[in-house]
Symmetry: C2
Subunit: 419 residues, 2 copies
């Protein structure tokens, strides 16, 4: 029997280190070419599998694959596409099997977050439900850090480092200007459901470099008066303060604070971020001069300031996924197991996908300070190891020399499939 090929795809919002996981998968598979044949990547995630739009990763050199380790974004393209259940869309599963059969695919590696874990779980069950032998392993990735069982999620540490560094730098800036100009800097960060990324703003302040950082968590209902009192206190005490606000903060009415019903001069609804809303609240309530920023994609793409721990874990997850597949596992996900904080030590573990899919890990309540605007020592102890170490990409002409793969298409063998 010919050895089986593997399928690898990237799913959901990309990160600074998802390609490091890809490098882990591809390099490890190449080291076991006696057990795994070709690795085909899905162009734009699972869509590439459904449409038989496969990329021949053999077309790229070992050097290019190694360069994935320091290249942000999804090298093969990602997608936001969730498979329905077998009952709801049997046709898609049958199509996947057709594609897997046509290309002799026996391993399925899916690199994503919570929704993707669910997709991966469904694929892993094809063996039982539709009688096609395949081993599906999920490779964890999400800046939201909300996957269960694993201590942390690849992608999060680098966002956390970016937000902590940026908040410290902007705080130094506003401190310099505060005598005659800006007194409050507001930074909007990602995290619609959980405050993990916002919490990282709290790391900007450390025992030897105290900075007044006020955090607005999505877990805490926004209380305008309490917030204004907090900001006012910081400005009186320190002369300035920084506010790190999660895009997911909600008001007492349960609506997102960013959803302020803004209208332009013609009455058209306008979409804004939450940072300018918070800025206006400060202007109206305290009359303080402010500046605001919105990090958006910059935060999750910032490979130039990635956390070394995060890069190493992302690579390790990809490597472990292949090793687990070769050891005969199906329907599992490699995890990060924390062994100690000081020094930071971790090892690779394993979780059953059935325990991962559709479970969201929230911030523990004891990670948020009593007043609701900061992080606790326990939270700091958890977060600091995740941002430790720098892992700089190579530069050329002043810019990171990120790789672009050839992404050569595999010749199609099947009829077209519309999704």
């Amino acid at each position: 029997m010919a050895i089986k090929n593997a399928f690898y795809a990237q799913s959901g919002g990309v990160t600074a280190v998802i390609n490091a996981s890809a490098a882990g998968v591809l390099e490890t598979a190449r080291q076991h070419s006696d057990e795994i044949g070709n690795v085909y990547a899905g162009r734009n995630g699972i869509i590439g599998a459904l449409t038989e739009d496969l990329i021949d990763t053999n077309a790229d050199s070992a050097a290019s694959i190694a360069a994935l380790r320091y290249t942000p974004s999804g090298a093969f393209g990602s997608c936001r596409y969730k498979l329905k259940s077998l009952e709801q869309n049997r046709r898609e599963y049958e199509r996947l099997i057709e594609v897997f059969k046509a290309h002799n695919i026996g391993y399925f590696f899916y690199n994503g977050g919570g929704d993707s874990a669910d997709t991966c779980l469904k694929v892993s069950q094809i063996a039982d439900t539709l009688g096609y032998p395949i081993q599906a392993i999920h490779v964890p990735k999400t800046v939201d850090n909300d996957l269960p069982i694993t201590d942390c999620c690849p992608g999060f540490g680098s966002v956390a480092k970016y937000i902590a560094v940026s908040t410290r730098e902007a705080s130094f800036d506003v401190a310099s200007m505060s005598k005659t100009s800006t007194k409050v800097f507001i930074l909007e960060v990602m995290g619609r459901h959980a405050g993990w990324i916002a919490a990282a703003g709290g790391l900007a302040s450390s025992p030897d470099c105290e900075i007044p950082v006020v955090i607005l968590f999505p877990e805490i209902t926004f209380d305008k008066e309490k917030f204004l009192a907090k900001v006012n206190h910081c400005v009186r005490e320190y002369g300035y303060c920084s506010v790190v606000v999660s895009e997911g903060v909600k008001g007492e009415d349960g609506n997102f604070l960013s959803d302020q019903g803004l209208r332009d001069a013609f009455g058209h609804a306008q979409l804004g971020g939450v940072a300018p809303v918070v800025a206006n609240i400060i202007k109206d309530g305290l009359g303080l001069k402010y500046h605001w920023g919105v990090a958006d994609y910059l935060q999750r793409a910032a490979r130039h300031i990635a956390s070394k721990a995060d890069v190493e874990q992302a690579y390790a997850m990809g490597k472990a996924a292949v090793e687990y597949a070769l050891a005969g596992h199906n329907s599992v996900m490699p995890t990060i197991v924390r062994e100690s904080n000081t020094p930071y030590r971790w090892k690779v573990g394993m979780a059953q996908l059935a325990n991962v899919a559709n479970v969201e890990k929230m911030m523990p309540a004891d990670f948020i300070s009593e007043d609701g605007f900061g992080i606790t020592p326990a939270c700091r102890e958890y977060l600091v190891p995740l941002i430790e170490g720098e892992d700089y990409p190579p530069y050329k002409d002043g810019l990171p020399d990120y790789v672009r793969l050839k992404n050569v298409a595999v010749v199609k063998k099947l009829d077209e499939f519309k999704i």
Copy 2:
């Protein structure tokens, strides 16, 4: 006669490298302690001189002063305060002389942009106008890159590098997502009058890493139909595009594009950035999914990704200022003189302050491409050397280990002065 002391102050918006200039001034002055006594820094710029709020820089160790080289923001505090003319406010000049006399100050080093050059020029004329002997030297600094005579301005190169790197990273991100999700990423950057910083977004694309970047310069009146056609073309051609928009872009009515008369649900005027306005134009005009970010202070405080050339030039300007003072000069500013592009070579020159103050250097017209949305090869040739090289700060616990000085106050000798 006792040797004279020096005064040093930071003015206007701070940068990632203004403290490198401070290090240049302080270290060079310490090397000439036989000619320059103490260096007193103004707390919060010229306000520190007027209110006799002086900082004794001797209180900080050589190691702390050296650490200024890699610490962003203004270590002594900055201010936005422009001296009026001698005729309009003679009292302020007389007060400056009182403070200078009381602390035996014979050298005045002022670290700022165009407005500060004007202040420095006025101080330099005190010798003639009010008979107090002082040598005033301006140390150039501005992210706006708009000082005349000097080839570039310390602070700009690091912002340019940050914007180029961030635009490249976010472009890689949106490219990955574009099949099923975001197709346009919009980044708002500083530069209310000149498009130097926006131009740096064009560097994200290079001959070996082509990226569709559409730039909106403040020099070019916004033309909605032309802009939408350009974005649409890029998305059809590449599948995605990035838009780098200067905060200073104006519409045909002469108003800032950011000034859209937004109202909240209660009819209150809301202040927004230009990025969400451009995002709405794309949504309404093309129906494309977008994301937007606003770099704000992050861009000018980002010492973690500073340009090495910029750091070296900032330091050299501080050093040269002290050397020019010791050589007997007054009313001058050290400049950067470009000698060659490949390899990049530059030397320190000198400009008369009278030729610097109140002169704004705009982008040459031949730096903007014919369609108004990009940079020309000449612009690229000018910009690339300015972002070359990395100069990473040291890290501790995952964060840049920036220094905070003691900022010990010099004992006051005069009565209080209200500004």
